[in-house]
C-alpha cells in the first residue's frame, strides 16, 4: 500500500523486537468472536489514476457548465487563485489545532488576523476562530444569549434562512429554549416590526434576525435593536452573505453577530465545508463558544499568539463548557483571511457594488415580462430578489435548463403562502448575456389556447 512506509522485512523485525510471533498477537485482546476474519466489502485498491478517473466521471455526471441563479445561503463568487496555492501548503494543511504555540505561530497569527478582519467588517469588538457554519453558529449564538441574560426564550424572524431555523430548533429543543417566530411584512419582505414588538417580552433572551434576510432584503437593524433592547433582550444578527458587508452598513447595534463566511473565497462544494464565525461585544467574550486566539509575549518579550480563555471550552470545563465544539473550520477561515487580504479595504466594496449592480439589472430584466413581478421591490436589497411568476416554476425552469441555466429556487417549500415565488441570486460571476438569455426564456411562456 503506497501510503505505508514499511517493508515486509521491517515489519518482521519490529515484531521480533516486541516479542510478538505475528501481527495477530497484537490483536489477541479483541475476543475472537468479534475479530473480522474476512476482507471488508469495499472497492478494491485503486491506482491514483483510477481514483482521479472515478471522481472526474462523477463530476461529469453532475452536469457542469450551467449558469446559475442559485443563492439562498450558498454563493458563487470568484475565488482568487492564490487561496488554493497557499492553503495547500503542507504547513497549514497538515498541522493540528495550535495548542503547542511555539510551533504553530503561523496558524495562530493567521487566526488572529482573521478575528481582526471579522471584527472590522461586522462592527463587533471581537470574533472567534470559527464555528462549523452559519446555521450552527446561529444556534450557538442563541444559546450564548440565554447564558448571558439568564432568560430562556428566543424570538426568531421567519426571514432567517429556513435551514438555520431548523438547526436552531434542533439545538433549542433540549436546552429548554422555546422559540417564537416573528413574521414578515408582505409588502417589504422585512421583519414585521409590530409583530416583533408583540413577541418580545421581559423573558426574551434573544431576537435573531438575518440581514440581508432570506429574501435578500436588508433589515432595519437599528429599529430591531431598539425593540430587543427595550426589553433587555440581546440582538443576534445572522449574516449568510458575508460579501454584503462591503457595502451594507454593519449591524453595530447587535450584541452578537453570527456569520457564514463561505462567500469569502470558499468553494460551494455542494454545501460544505463552509465557515461559520461568531463575533460579539467585548463584555460577552467569556460566554462565547469556540476557540479564541490572543496576543501575548514570550520570555524575551517577543510578540506571540496563543489559544486563550480556554476555561470556556470542553477540554477544560467538560459538561460546564459553553459548547461542545472542538474541531472548527480553521483551514476554511484561512481561505477567508487570504480572500479578504486579496480584496482589501477597497476591493471588498467594489466587489459588493458589482453584486448590487448585477442583481438590480437582473431583477429588472427578469421581471419585465407580463407574467412576472418582483416581490418586495421597494425594500433595499443586496444581490438576491424574489420573483412571482404566473407560470409554475417547474415549467420555466425546464426551459431554462435546456439553455443550460439554473433559475431561482422555489420558495413554496418553506413559504407555501408565496405560491410560485422563486429566490434569485446574481453575483459578480453572472454575465449580462446570461441574464438576458434567462429573461428571454422566462418571458417565452407557451401561449394558452
Amino acid at each position: 500500500m503506497r501510503y505505508l512506509p514499511k517493508s515486509p522485512a521491517e515489519r518482521e523485525q519490529m515484531l521480533a523486537e516486541i516479542g510478538a510471533a505475528s501481527i495477530d498477537d497484537l490483536f489477541a485482546v479483541i475476543p475472537a468472536a468479534y475479530r473480522l476474519n474476512r476482507d471488508l466489502d469495499v472497492p478494491r485498491q485503486h491506482a491514483e489514476s483510477e481514483i482521479i478517473d472515478y471522481f472526474r466521471a462523477a463530476a461529469d455526471k453532475n452536469a457542469t457548465g450551467y449558469a446559475s441563479f442559485l443563492g439562498a445561503g450558498a454563493y458563487r463568487h470568484y475565488r482568487p487563485v492564490i487561496i488554493d496555492s497557499l492553503v495547500q501548503r503542507g504547513e497549514f494543511l497538515t498541522s493540528y489545532t495550535p495548542y503547542q504555540a511555539e510551533i504553530t505561530q503561523g496558524t495562530l497569527q493567521a487566526i488572529f488576523e482573521f478575528q481582526t478582519m471579522i471584527a472590522e467588517l461586522t462592527g463587533m469588538d471581537v470574533a472567534n476562530a470559527s464555528m462549523y457554519d452559519g446555521s450552527t453558529g446561529a444556534a450557538e449564538a442563541a444559546m450564548m444569549a440565554a447564558r448571558v441574560t439568564g432568560r430562556h426564550q428566543a424570538v426568531v424572524a421567519s426571514t432567517v434562512h429556513p435551514e438555520y431555523r431548523e438547526v436552531l430548533a434542533t439545538y433549542a429543543k433540549h436546552q429548554g429554549l422555546p422559540i417564537g417566530l416573528a413574521g414578515y411584512d408582505a409588502k417589504t419582505g422585512c421583519i414585521d416590526l409590530a409583530a416583533l414588538e408583540m413577541a418580545v417580552t421581559n423573558e426574551t433572551a434573544a431576537v435573531l434576525v438575518q440581514s440581508p434576510n432570506f429574501f435578500g432584503v436588508v433589515e432595519d437593524i437599528p429599529a430591531i435593536a431598539a425593540i430587543a433592547h427595550a426589553k433587555g433582550a440581546l440582538l443576534i444578527v445572522s449574516i449568510a452573505e458575508a460579501v454584503s458587508l462591503g457595502i451594507v452598513r454593519p449591524p453595530i447595534e447587535a450584541d452578537i453577530v453570527s456569520m457564514e463566511a463561505q462567500s469569502f473565497g470558499v468553494a460551494l462544494s455542494y454545501g460544505g465545508p463552509f465557515c461559520g464565525v461568531m463575533a460579539c461585544k467585548e463584555q460577552y467574550i467569556r460566554q462565547m463558544p469556540g476557540r479564541l486566539v490572543g496576543q501575548t509575549t514570550d520570555g524575551s518579550g517577543y510578540r506571540g499568539f496563543v489559544l486563550t480563555l480556554a476555561t470556556r471550552e470542553q477540554h477544560i470545563r467538560r459538561e460546564k463548557a459553553t459548547s461542545n465544539i472542538c474541531t472548527n473550520q480553521a483551514l476554511v477561515a484561512l481561505m477567508a483571511t487570504i480572500f479578504l487580504t486579496v480584496y482589501g479595504k477597497e476591493g471588498i466594496r467594489e466587489l459588493a457594488e458589482h453584486n448590487l449592480a448585477k442583481a438590480h439589472y437582473a431583477a429588472k430584466a427578469l421581471s419585465q415580462n407580463q407574467g412576472t413581478t418582483q416581490l418586495f421591490a421597494g425594500a433595499p436589497l443586496f444581490h438576491e430578489f424574489v420573483l412571482q411568476t404566473e407560470e409554475a416554476p417547474a415549467a420555466w425552469s425546464k426551459r431554462l435548463m435546456d439553455e443550460k441555466i439554473v433559475g431561482g429556487i422555489e420558495l413554496s417549500r418553506w413559504y407555501p403562502e408565496l405560491g410560485n415565488a422563486t429566490l434569485w441570486c446574481a453575483t459578480e460571476i453572472i454575465t449580462r448575456a446570461q441574464i438576458d438569455t434567462a429573461a428571454k426564456v422566462l418571458a417565452a411562456a407557451p401561449v394558452e389556447a
Binding site: 500500500m1 501510503y3 512506509p5 523486537e17 510478538a20 501481527i23 497484537l26 490483536f27 489477541a28 468479534y34 476482507d39 471488508l40 469495499v42 482521479i52 471522481f55 466521471a57 462523477a58 439562498a72 445561503g73 496555492s85 501548503r89 504547513e91 497549514f92 493540528y96 504555540a101 510551533i103 504553530t104 503561523g106 488572529f112 488576523e113 478575528q115 450552527t136 438555520y164 438547526v167 439545538y171 433540549h174 458587508l245 452598513r249 462544494s269 455542494y270 465545508p273 496576543q295 517577543y302 496563543v306 477540554h315 459548547s323 461542545n324 472542538c326 474541531t327 473550520q329 480553521a330 483551514l331 476554511v332 482589501g344 479595504k345 449592480a357 448585477k358 438590480h360 439554473v406 459578480e428
Partner: protein
Amino acid sequence: MTSNAPTLATTGKVRPHQTQNEALVFEKSSPGKRAYKLPPLDVPPVDSAALLGAAHRTTPGLLPELSEIEIIRHFTRLSTWNYAIDLGMYPLGSCTMKYNPRVNELVSRIEGLAEAHPYRPDSLAQGILEVIDLLQRCLIEITGMDAITLQPAAGAHGEFTGILLVRAWHQSQGNPRRKILIPDSAHGTNPATAAICGYTVENLKSNAEGGIDLEALTRQVDEETAALMLTNPSTIGVFESRIARIAEILHAKGALLYMDGANMNALVGKARPGDFGVDVMHLNLHKTFSTPHGGGGPGSGPVACKAFLEPFLPAPVLVQNQNGTKCWEYERPQSVGRVRAFYGNTGMFIRALAYILANGPDGLRQTTEDAVLNANYIRHKLEDLYELPYKTASMHEVVFSDKRQAALGVKTGDIAKRLIDYGFHPYTVSFPLIVHGALMIEPTESESLEELDLFIAAMRSIAREVEETPELVKTAPHSTRVSRLDEVQAARKPVLRWRPEQQQAP
C-alpha cells in the same frame, strides 16, 4: 550546561535554520496597493448610496491593502512557523495525525464537484450523490452498522447527533431518560455533548486496568440511564475486551451503548463496532480517514447506527428512486431534525472516499496493523525509562506517565516541549485525566521505522537530560522562534484583535 545555552539535539533529525520575521498583515498595508482586478462591469453601474439609503456602509472595514506577491510571502512566511505532518512525526494521542494524501486534495477540487451548488436540482447532482452513497456504504461496512448520516461537521457535532438519536429513541419508548454515563477517561467533548442534549452526566470510575468497572457499571445503570458513552479502544489505547458484556448490562436496563469512534484507526478491517454490541457511534473523517486537520478543521463526524435508530436520523436522508437515481428525502416524521444546513462537509466526503479507494480492503487492514505495530514498538522501546501506568496490551496508542521524571521536578509538559527541540511535535499532554502526568503517544501507521527510531532516541535522550540537566528540559523549547508564551497575561488582559493605534511589538 545552563538553560541559557540552547542545546542542539544530537539525534540527527534537526539543525537550526533561518526563519523570517513577519509583521501582522495590517501592519504591512499601505493605501492604494491592490491584489485584485475585477472585470469591467457589463451592466449599468448603480448608485449604491441611493439604493441602500440608511443601510449603506459609509465607513469601510480596515482591511489590509497589499499586492499579490506580498500576500504570497506573508502567508508563506507564516506557514514556515508551523510544524506539520509533512515535516515529521506528529504523535498526538487521540488525534490520529496520519498522512493526508494529495490526490484527495486534487479530486475534491474537480470543478464539477467543487462548484456544485447545494440546491442544484437532484437531476444535476447525480454524480455527487453517487459519491456520497458509496462513502455511506463503505462506512456502514467498516463499522458494521446499518444506517448512517454524514451531516455532522465534526466529531463533537457527531456526538451531539448520536446522543440526539438516543434521546429520540427513548422518547419514542415513552421516556427520554435522565442521565448519560461517561467514564472518567473520556474526551471532554463527551460530557459537554451530554449536557447540551439535556442530560445529566454521571461519572463512571475506571477500574485498576483503566477500563470499565463492570460492578460499578451494573450498580449505576438504571431505568433513568439513557446511554453509556464509551471510547473503544479507550483513551489509554486499550481495547475493552468485555465490550459485549458491557452492552448486555446496558441493554438489560434499556440503555444504549454509544461509541466515540475517535480511536477507530485501531479497528478498521480488524473488528467492527456493530458486531460487538454498539448501537450508535460517530467517526472522525479527519482522523481515521485521512482528511487534513488544517490547523483545527474542517472535520467531518458521520454518525452510524443500528436499524432501530434509523427513523430518527437527521433529515434529509439520501434515498434511491425506483429508476435508480438518487435524491434527498425530507419527509422524516421521527427525525431529530437538522443539525446543520445542507448535507454536511461534502468536500471531506470526497477526500475520505478517495482514501478508502486508495487502500481497498487489504490496505485498510494493513493500515490498522501498522498503526498498532508502531505504538507497540514505541512502548517496547520506552517502557524501561517511562512509567507505564497500565500494563494492558496497547492498540494504536500508548500512554506513559511522568512519575519518574516528576520525582526530579520535570513534568510531562516539559518533556513535550523539549521534544520540539529534537524536531518532533509533542505528544498529547496530561490526557487522559485518569493518568496523572500523562504522555499520550499515537504514532499512526504513517511513520517509517527510521522516524520511529529517531523519536525513540529523542525520548531516551530527554529522559537522560531529566536526570543530568533538568533545567534544560524545564525551559524548553530552545530552538523555536518564540519561547514559552505568557498564557496568564493572554487570559488576564485578552488582546483578541489588532487595532490601528496598537504599538508594534519587536
